[in-house]
């Protein structure tokens, strides 16, 4: 039991993507213009990650090593198409905003990375825990990154569409940094977050006598 919990929680801080693994940066930087967009992308990725991990783990004894990458990609691609269809059917506006980045989940290194490095070597339960942990960590990261960019770039929080404009949290004379919503703003926000996280880890390590 303890090891299953460890597989789950490692994705939430110790190896939280994209900050610790610095993988899957393409969707991270591209879609996090608002918190909701980031969260939508994160949840879509989590869905694919959980199921691809589960199936790769279940089939790991049947798949010959020479064709494992091809098999993993077929499995991942199937779940990406499923998530794309479901989003189109039930979250059309989010689907419109995320656009090309949903099909591109297929080539997200985090998913193939977990399939290759973890699920193909571990049993289904641990693989599920790993997928859930990494996926929720990714969702959390994208939500935080998106919210920071949205707050500074537009002055709102949790903006979804015209009908759900979210909360205006900044003071009335606040002039938004339009820069934060542009690609360079994504890099700056990601860099600052990364620096903060490293600072926290460093302080913790010094307190604990170094890890």
């Amino acid at each position: 039991m303890a090891s299953i919990r460890a597989e789950f929680t490692k994705g939430l801080w110790r190896t939280i993507p994209p900050f610790r693994l610095v993988l899957g940066l393409c969707p991270t930087l591209a879609v996090t213009t608002t918190g909701i967009n980031g969260m939508g992308m994160g949840l879509a990725t989590t869905f694919v990650l959980i199921f691809s991990n589960l199936f790769v783990s279940l089939l790991r004894r049947f798949i010959p090593t020479q064709v494992r990458i091809a098999s993993f990609i077929v499995i991942i691609a199937s779940f990406v198409v499923i998530v794309e269809l479901l989003m189109q059917a039930y979250f059309y506006q989010l689907f419109k905003v995320l656009g090309i980045f949903i099909p591109l989940i297929v080539v997200n290194c985090i998913i193939l990375g977990r399939a290759e490095a973890f699920a193909s070597k571990n049993d289904p339960i641990r693989s599920l825990a790993d997928g859930l942990g990494i996926g929720l960590g990714f969702t959390l990261s994208l939500l935080v990154l998106g919210s920071i960019r949205e707050l500074l770039g537009a002055g709102t929080l949790l903006h979804y569409d015209v009908a759900h404009p979210g909360f205006h949290v900044m003071w009335s004379s606040f002039e938004p940094f339009a820069f934060m919503l542009k690609p360079p703003g994504a890099f700056v926000a990601l860099g600052i977050l990364l620096a903060f996280m490293n600072l926290i880890s460093q302080t913790q390590a010094q307190k604990g006598g170094g890890r």
Binding site: I63, S71, V74, Y90, Q93
Partner: protein
């Protein structure tokens, strides 16, 4: 050789299973996807040309197959026009310009073009006329 056969079998089975699942899911989501795309792409235009309805125009729609969407020829590509027709055979408020409003739908509709946009004006006019032609043709089924 046995290894190669095994690879072929495993990849084929995975591919076939994935294809089957995807076609089932695609079939199951076809109706909601169609509903969503009409709702978010066309309903804003429908709202402009028809006022005062209180039903869901997408759920209670009548589909008549006459080919593809009719679009007028514009200066650069095609023009899509949403035309609303009242039961009194008059064109209701129209999304592109109000010049068409109140025109009876019997016969060819002619309105003044906009100078500087002759080609586009003609395109819109021809699109409206095409739409009106279909309404006249399929009147029995519609009302």
């Amino acid at each position: 050789v046995r290894g190669i056969i095994r690879m072929i079998v495993v990849l084929t089975v995975i591919g076939a299973a994935s294809g089957l699942t995807l076609s089932a899911i695609s079939g199951a989501t076809r109706a909601p996807i169609e509903y969503q795309s009409i709702k978010f792409v066309k309903e804003p235009a429908v709202k402009k040309v028809l006022t005062g309805y209180d039903n869901d125009p997408i759920l209670e729609r009548t589909t008549i197959t006459v080919g593809t969407d009719e679009q007028g020829k514009g200066f650069h590509g095609t023009i899509g026009v949403m035309v609303g027709v009242s039961k009194e055979d008059e064109i209701t408020e129209e999304a592109f310009t109000s010049r068409f409003k109140g025109q009876p739908i019997t016969g060819e509709i002619q309105v003044d073009g906009i100078s500087g946009a002759t080609y586009s004006s003609k395109g819109v006019m021809s699109a409206v006329n095409e739409a009106v032609g279909y309404v006249t043709k399929f009147k029995q089924e519609l009302f």
